[in-house]
């Protein structure tokens, strides 16, 4: 029971990170129908930007408690801005011209972009693991039984809180603002939306920016939680987040978060009760099983095939 609660806490934290990345996949797929393969690497870049910012601020202000908090805040904001810029540029350079072209062209372009980003970071920042000094190591003990302490760390509280707040803001933007309405209109029918005076190009660009900003939150949280990042960190979380998006029903925002949580929980429980070596196999198997038996996902709409 104690192990279960502890793993539940860990799983929800991990799930929050996956859910934030998954939103980027699901929104882009919903609006232009492409798998943005480079999204995982955008997430990795955001972690690097946060790392550099964090190091710059702590180098100036020291490693005291207040300075660390300030550094994290600055890292989060700068990372969101810079990552959005990256995502915007990628869409502008590599995808916009291929919209409406041959179906495989944007996918290949995205795979190329993913390879390019990963190797850019490797060349620019080196291939070694980049650690940050351990921060916020304090934990709160929730309860104790037979010597096993169930604890939640400040990091985990921070991650879950920030995720919840940002999802709330994001939900409000998509559901209640003109921007969100334009996005949903483009999702349904781009040509009709354009006829009604919606700037489709700009709406799609904003979608990429929003996805990247949430990925940047995930990246900063990932860095805070694990304390280390390396240039190849984009691929596996990227594929798992995509799995989460598919599991929840691609195109559905609550689905992406739900899927992220499920993948995070499955992964932690699998590691805790079965074998840590096969945790990625478990995640990939779930992806395959879900797509085979339930292609529309948990909260997605079934796709009707028309002649």
């Amino acid at each position: 029971m104690e192990v279960f609660v502890q793993q539940l806490i860990n799983g929800v934290t991990l799930g929050a990170v996956y859910g934030l990345i998954a939103i980027g996949y699901t929104m882009v797929f919903g609006i232009i129908g492409m798998v943005n393969f480079a999204h995982g690497d955008v997430f990795m870049i955001s972690a690097f930007v946060a790392l550099i910012c964090f190091m710059a601020v702590t180098a100036l202000a020291g490693m005291t408690g207040g300075a660390v908090f300030l550094a994290l805040l600055v890292a989060l904001i700068v990372s969101m801005i810079v990552t959005s810029l990256f995502s915007w540029t990628i869409e502008r350079v590599a995808y916009r011209k291929l919209r409406g072209s041959f179906r495989l062209a944007p996918l290949i372009s995205a795979i190329g972009m993913s390879i390019l980003l990963m190797n850019f970071v490797q060349v620019a920042q080196g291939a070694r693991n980049k650690p940050i000094p351990p921060i916020m190591r304090d934990t709160i003990s929730l309860f104790e039984k037979d010597g096993f302490v169930v604890a939640i760390s400040y990091k985990q509280i921070l991650i879950i809180l920030v995720t919840a707040v940002l999802l709330g803001i994001f939900w409000y933007v998509v559901q209640k603002t003109p921007l969100g309405r334009a996005q949903r209109a483009c999702e349904q029918d781009q040509k009709m939306a354009a006829l009604l005076g919606i700037n489709v190009d700009r709406t799609i660009a904003v979608t990429f920016i929003m996805g990247a900003a949430l990925a940047a939150v995930a990246g900063t949280m990932f860095l805070t939680y694990y304390g280390v990042v390396v240039f190849s960190d984009g691929f596996v979380p990227g594929v798992k987040a995509f799995t989460a998006a598919v599991l929840g029903g691609i195109g559905s925002l609550p689905g992406a978060v739900l899927g992220g949580m499920l993948i995070g929980l499955i992964e932690t429980f699998w590691s805790a009760y079965f074998s840590i070596d096969y945790k990625d196999v478990a995640a990939f198997s779930i992806l395959a099983i879900v797509l085979i038996f339930m292609p529309q996902g948990l909260l997605g709409k079934p796709e009707v095939e028309k002649v």
Binding site: I45, A56, G112, M118, V281, L287, I292
Partner: protein, 471 residues
């Protein structure tokens, strides 16, 4: 509507300059942290930031100049009305036909040419690193072309079958029980010499079996979903190979895999070796040349089989399936069998290539079968122009060969200092090429296809008219 040739407008330099400044500002935003500051570790493992203002300024400057030049080029070409090229000419098909024949002829004399010009020691690099490497990718590209180009099934996990082939050969050839059994049955020298030739078909059959096994559950999926599930299968196979140490050796892989023999004559310096048997002086180059011809023949078999299959009922069913699955089903084509044969035959050639790869390297580990390989093979098929055999050849030479040649650029060290390592930029350039080639030619280099059925006259079809573009 009347189209008058518009008078050339003067180039708007202020606008160009504005665009270039905007691009430079974006580049500054992108790179000020990622390039301008480098994270480094000091000797006592302290992380420090090293500022690199010079590098940042250079990159931003290059973006500024690049954007300006592109804008200028677009501006001076803006007035010209592009002539729409007649999509498909018989000439293009003729070039493909004779070009292919000439290229195959060239490949057969290539090792001799290199041997003549570079000598036995210099030639190994050109035949092995360049020739064999490119041919492996050509073969994989042709194999995947059956699945993606002909049947229209987007497979992102092709490397799984390559791995199945490689591990089948490696495990069978190095397994003790098999060795003992063979030693008991036909004598101790038989198995090490003939292992490759016996295991090659076995590897192909096993890979085809895995193709069916992995193809069966994904029969209902299409497009991007299919791509992602096949990606997942490819990763699962790789992760199992890493973690199931007793079976596959894990990360350490399998080493001392027997090399192929010249049909029973080993390539070594002994009395019964290849060189001694044919009265030649021993050098390792003979094995390399032999391997070159083996993969060349294997690749040509792949090409031959796929061109012949296109004209058989099953090949036509593949192409029909690619165009419209519902129409296919209503015409009574068994889509299950059609898809499974495509998966199986594509996988079989992947398995052959894998067995050859294991035999050539003598060592394999899961590191060789990462997702990047699948992406690379798919990129070759798509960049070449789906369905075009010659396109695959051109794309492999450009991508694999071009990137291999970067290793030869050591002279650049004279300009950029000794720390400059061109090979480091290999994959960076590879990724950039993928993006740029897609932007330049989204349908691939050779986007013309030859119809396999025609009325009266054979007309080439532009791939713009082929369905998978709209699917």
């Amino acid at each position: 509507m009347m189209m008058e040739a518009p008078a050339r407008e003067p180039v708007n330099f202020a606008g160009l300059l504005k665009d270039a400044v905007f691009a430079a500002a974006i580049a500054f935003g992108l790179f000020s942290l990622m390039l301008g500051l480098k994270t480094d570790q000091t000797l006592n493992n302290q992380m420090v930031l090293v500022p690199r203002p010079g590098l940042l300024a250079t990159v931003v400057g290059l973006v500024f100049i690049g954007r300006f030049l592109i804008g200028y080029w677009q501006a001076i070409n803006a007035g010209k009305i592009k002539k729409r090229k007649a999509a498909a000419t018989p000439l293009a098909l003729k070039i493909e036909k004779y070009g292919t024949a000439a290229f195959v002829g060239f490949l057969f004399v290539y090792p001799m040419m290199v041997l003549g010009t570079a000598g036995p020691s210099g030639a190994i690099k050109w035949i092995d690193n360049l020739g064999i490497q490119i041919l492996i990718y050509i073969m994989l590209g042709w194999g995947l072309n059956i699945v993606v180009g002909l049947a229209g099934l987007l497979d992102l996990g092709y490397v799984a079958f390559y791995a199945v082939g490689a591990y089948s050969y490696a495990l069978l050839a190095t397994s003790e029980p098999v060795k003992e059994f063979m030693a008991g049955a036909v004598g101790p020298t038989f198995w090490p010499l003939w292992a490759f030739w016996i295991c090659l078909p076995v590897a192909g059959i096993l890979a085809a079996f895995w193709g069916v096994l992995l193809g069966f559950p994904v029969l209902r999926l299409r497009g991007d979903y299919l791509a992602i599930v096949t990606l997942a299968f490819g990763e699962i196979i790789r992760l199992v190979l890493i973690n199931w140490v007793e079976f596959s050796g894990g990360y350490a892989g399998i080493s001392s895999i027997p090399r192929p023999s010249f049909f029973g004559v080993p390539f070594n310096a002994t009395e019964s070796g290849f060189a001694a048997t044919f009265g030649l002086e021993f050098t390792p180059i003979y094995r390399t040349i032999f391997l070159f011809y083996v993969i060349l023949i294997l690749a040509l078999i792949t090409a031959l089989v796929s061109t012949r299959l296109r004209r058989l009922p099953v090949g036509r069913a593949w192409e029909a399936l690619r165009e419209d699955e519902i129409a296919c089903r209503s015409l009574g084509i068994n889509t299950v069998n059609t898809k499974l044969t495509a998966f199986a035959i594509g996988a079989m050639f992947g398995g052959f290539a894998g067995a050859f790869f294991a035999a050539r390297q003598g060592f394999i580990s899961p590191e060789s079968f990462v997702f990047l390989e699948s992406a690379q093979i798919l990129a070759i098929v798509v960049l070449g122009g789906m369905g075009s055999l010659l396109g695959v050849v051109i794309a492999s030479i450009l991508l694999v060969g071009g990137v291999e040649l970067l290793r030869e650029l050591d002279f650049l060290k004279a300009y950029f200092g000794d720390n400059f390592d061109p090979a480091q930029y290999r994959m960076l350039i590879f990724g950039a090429c993928m993006v740029l080639m897609m932007l330049w030619k989204p349908r691939g280099l050779i986007s013309v296809r030859e119809p396999s059925v025609f009325l009266k006259e054979k007309k080439a079809v532009s791939s713009d008219l082929v369905k998978e573009g709209h699917g």
